[in-house]
């Protein structure tokens, strides 16, 4: 039997990051996929990033993951969303050439030493005699491979079932084969699985779209790349378009709503709230006269276009009929129809923040298998699972990212502590520390961790240290500068719509004024050194937001104090006298690692936390 250290099941966005991280950290790793041609596929929208998701990609990059680099090399249009709403919510979003991304990621995996890419369906996880320590996997052809850790990243393949109108058939995404046996094996081992649902819109032929009737959407002139390590700036190569549904569209859908498998009651799985099908939108928001859809190219060497906003599980003829009511799509030709897909996933509260199962040693979960949705959420978890599986086998401390460190940490804490009731999408509003967790400073927050873990090499780390030093030095220099009032300055201040000064003022106080910029005040700061753009950006933001950053840091400190109060793994909550039954049950189920995590569990109140704290003291 061939043996590996780590076996990754599924080669989507979670699986690829997990396998790359594990192999790069020196572990012999196998990556299994049902079809090599489906590796790092984008079966839904041909884009990476977006609000909060863009943050995730930059964080993945700062930790030494692959998604940001691959996206930069294959993007065909890029935009920074939310400009003007404040730096904390700026988010990168890029249209990606879907096939180019797949090919690049496949080549990257193939080129990685110690990483073995294999085409096979995994049907069984194999356990030691204790029934809870993984020892290997078995394929559909009965071949067994040994491993010390297995990462489940099965996406919508696991028990996949597609619904279109009255038709239902077993399938993975984009018409590949589903994984039909693994669910049974996991259930037999005692894992609890549940069923979620998601959907995708139709792909249509370019020649059937009347672009003259659509609003065009260009990319940004100056592109910010995802990767902090990027040396070649990507370019825009395509445009996207906006169209709208109308009363006629809604009528066609309403007339046929009984044909929807969801409204007729054939699908029971829970769909994502953030990604409703068009029939959902019309049923739930009947007062909205129109809904927006985005028309996006699938790549450079294809005529396929993606219709974002129009996911549906209505029959194909109804899909065609309602699409053709839309201005600009009167003659549209569907190439791939829209569908809903159901799949099996775990309850993420069964996971530790390392993404290892509490009950199964060496078994990790990542991506849609953990109840999330989205390529970026998947990649983030894949990276964390891959790193932690590797660290565990190397006998090193795990990498646990807390909520104040990153969106990745927030995502994983939400999953493990609160659980999910529908496929989870990252949102900026989910992070209470979002003024600190900006996309622009992901490198400052996480490069150190990436280097410590071993995914950021010394060269990149040195560049990072230099940037950090430049930022610190410049802030220090600026803080020491006092500016005297002058006619020239006051003229400038008035022209920018802010009050002139009568007395001397600190330069940093001027920079802090919302109407002024670091750049714009260069003329009163003759000693200013020439610094790279990203350094200037950080200097300006750190000065401007100093007050808010301070408030958030105080909150972080309070949170971390509780986070540092660790709860021993072997604690028996039934023995904690005086603990309310509900709290004891919740704590026993989630098994929080720290008092901080315990305090975020719903149903555990401050008195319970106090009881717990006292109990922990008595155990010392």
């Amino acid at each position: 039997m061939e043996n590996f250290d780590i076996i990754v099941i599924g080669a989507g966005h979670a699986g690829c990051e997990a396998a790359l991280a594990a192999a790069r950290l020196g572990l012999k790793t196998a990556l299994f996929t049902i079809t090599l041609d489906g590796l790092a596929n984008m079966p839904c929208n041909p884009s990476i990033g977006g609000t909060a998701k863009g943050h995730l990609v930059r964080e993945i990059d700062a930790l030494g993951g692959e998604m940001g680099r691959a996206a930069d090399k294959t993007l065909i249009q890029s935009r920074m969303l939310n400009r003007g709403k404040g730096p904390a919510v700026h988010s990168l979003r890029a249209q990606i050439d879907r096939v180019a991304y797949h090919r690049l990621m496949k080549k990257t995996v193939e080129d990685t030493d110690g990483l073995y890419l294999k085409q096979a369906e995994i049907t069984d996880l194999l356990f030691e005699d204790d029934g809870r320590t993984v020892r290997g996997v078995r394929t559909h052809l009965g071949v067994e491979y040994g491993c010390k850790a297995a990462i489940l990243a099965s996406g919508t393949y696991l028990g996949g079932e597609i619904h279109v109108g009255a038709m239902t058939y077993p399938s993975g995404p984009d018409s590949v084969l589903p994984a039909t046996k693994l669910t049974e094996s996991l259930k037999a081992a005692g894992m609890e699985l549940r069923r979620f649902k998601t959907g995708t819109p139709a792909r249509v032929h370019k020649r059937s779209i009347n672009f003259d009737k659509l609003e065009v959407q260009h990319g940004d002139e100056d592109i910010t790349p995802f990767s902090f390590d990027n040396k070649v700036l990507p370019e825009n190569k395509v445009d996207c378009y906006v169209a709208y549904t109308n009363a006629e569209t809604h009528k066609v859908i309403m007339d046929n709503i009984h044909l929807s498998p969801i409204y007729s009651g054939r699908i029971h799985a829970i769909g994502p709230r953030y990604c409703p099908s068009i029939e959902d939108k019309i049923m739930r928001f009947s007062d909205k006269p129109r809904h927006q859809l985005f028309i996006e190219p699938m790549g450079l060497d294809t005529e396929e276009y993606y219709l974002q906003g129009m996911s549906s599980s209505l029959p194909v003829d109804v899909q065609l009929k309602f699409l053709r009511t839309i201005e600009g799509l009167e003659n549209v030709e569907i190439m791939r129809n829209a569908y809903a897909i159901e799949y099996d996933c775990c309850d993420p509260t069964d996971l530790l923040p390392t993404l290892e199962f509490k009950e199964f040693h060496g078994v990790y979960g990542a991506g849609q298998f953990n109840g999330t949705s989205g390529y970026e959420e998947a990649a983030a978890q894949g990276l964390v699972a891959g790193i932690n599986a590797a660290l565990k086998l190397k006998g090193e401390e795990p990498m646990v990212l807390d909520r104040a460190s990153s969106y990745i940490g927030t995502l994983i804490d939400d999953l493990c502590t609160k659980g999910v009731s529908d496929p989870y999408r990252m949102l900026t509003s989910r992070s209470e520390y979002r003024l600190l967790l900006r996309q622009d400073n992901a490198d400052l927050r996480l490069t150190e961790t990436g280097h410590r873990v071993g995914l950021i090499d010394d060269e990149r780390y040195a560049a990072f240290l230099k940037k950090k030093e430049q930022i610190d030095a410049e802030i220090k220099r600026l803080t020491a500068i006092n500016i005297a009032p002058s006619e020239k300055l006051n003229e400038y201040l008035s022209s920018q719509g802010t009050d002139p000064i009568n007395n001397g003022i600190k330069l940093t106080q001027l920079i802090r004024r919302p109407q002024l910029t670091y750049e714009g005040l260069a003329f009163i700061d003759p000693e200013r050194p020439v610094l790279p753009h990203d350094v200037c950006e950080q200097v300006e933001l750190m000065i401007k937001y100093e007050g808010y950053i301070k408030i958030q840091l105080e909150q972080v400190e309070a949170m971390r104090k509780l986070e540092n109060r660790k709860i021993p793994e072997d604690i028996d909550y039934s023995k904690v006298g005086s603990l309310r039954l509900e709290a004891a049950e919740k704590l026993a189920k989630i098994r929080p690692l720290s008092v901080g995590q315990a305090s975020r569990i719903s149903g555990v109140n401050p008195a319970d936390i106090n009881v717990l704290l006292v109990y922990l003291e008595t155990m010392k």
């Binding site: 939310n82 709403k85 994502p272 939108k281 129109r290 005086s578 975020r600 719903s602 704290l613």
Partner: protein
Amino acid sequence: MSTICAISTPLAEGGISVIRISGEGALAVAEKVFKPFTCESVGAMQGYTCAYGQIHDGDKTVDDGVLTVFRAPHSYTGEDVCEISCHGGIYVTKKVLRLCLKNGCDPAQAGEFTKRALINGKLSLTQAEAVMDTISAEGEYALASANLTRKGSLFGRISKISNDLVKLLGELAAWVDYPEEDLPAVEENALRKSLEDALAVTGRLLRDYDNGMLIRSGIDTVIAGKPNVGKSTLMNLLLGYDRSIVTDVAGTTRDVIEESAKLGELVFRLSDTAGIRDTEDTVEKVGVELAHKRLEECMFVIEVFDTSRKPDEDDIALLEKVKSLDKRCLIVLNKSDLESAVGEEFFREYSENIVCISAKNQDDRMMIQEAVEKIFSPENYDASSTIFANERQKHCAEKAHEHLNAALDSLNMGETLDAVTVMIDYAANALLELTGEKATEAVVSEVFSKFCVGK
């Protein structure tokens, strides 16, 4: 660890009460609220010593009292501890407690002093187990009283603001997280208006909270009016016996006199003041200044006018002053048995609460009672809630108020909305704490239920 404080004596009328402060910042807090007469400063005091001095809120003196200092580790909790002994009585005691909270303390959780004692190695294991039982029991009690409070009107009002804030945050979140959807843009002016509205509600809530507390320990009431319109007569009517010297010479009431009168279920602490008219008489001048100050401090004003004479400058000055202070007030028109020189409608523009009486007629007492009962109708305070729940709610409302102010400031300074939103987040979180919810989840649910968003 934060610095905590609580009232350590039973909350009832008594000779003295003790407020205990514990934590690293205990001495710093005591320094801010207590000025010892017998030594230079609190910081100079040794452990196990006490000092007589003044409890003050900025320039305002709250009470005289005794401060006892315990220095870590030689205290009950093992931390720095200060105990302020003040005069007993619910009103003063709570005022001192609130003063400590305002100056940087957090309210102590159930059993927290003992918990800290345990953590700092001051208690045995057996004692610790007893403590856990206590915390748990008090936790249950807190929960029960919180549930009780849920039925109260104060909770209803807090829920209303937190719902409004969550709605506002939902709009902001949808606008930020779904920039490409055709959602209505968040208008700065509308946002400012929402924040101002919320602030008005939290402000009102905090004022009313004080009122609620005061109503139980007596409503601080000033009887005001020009000399010789019959204030003392009115007071005597309310008290039921002659208290002030009543003569026909203007300006005979020269002292601020405090008495308690019970009208129905309400208790009023009455001060009959000298008039607020300009005067050359030195003695009377002191009384007039005092009267002005009392008008500013009190929570209820009974304005007395004599309808047999036309209102003059002094009368109008009083009406304007009370109106500008935005106080709850009752206008009492006296001597209605004589021929009227001015009609009731003249006073309507100052207040809707008007009663016409002749202070010599005992039946008029009932009319006044009805009028004040209307003014202090129960929806303005939450009599059913327990004091524990109230203090916690108040602390939350205060925090929310503070964060809302910060949000409004940021908005007015022209900061971007990401910063403003985070401040609103904090405000919502402070209020949602009462129901154990978290703003982030409430907001996410709001976005998905109210907005049609998603790919």
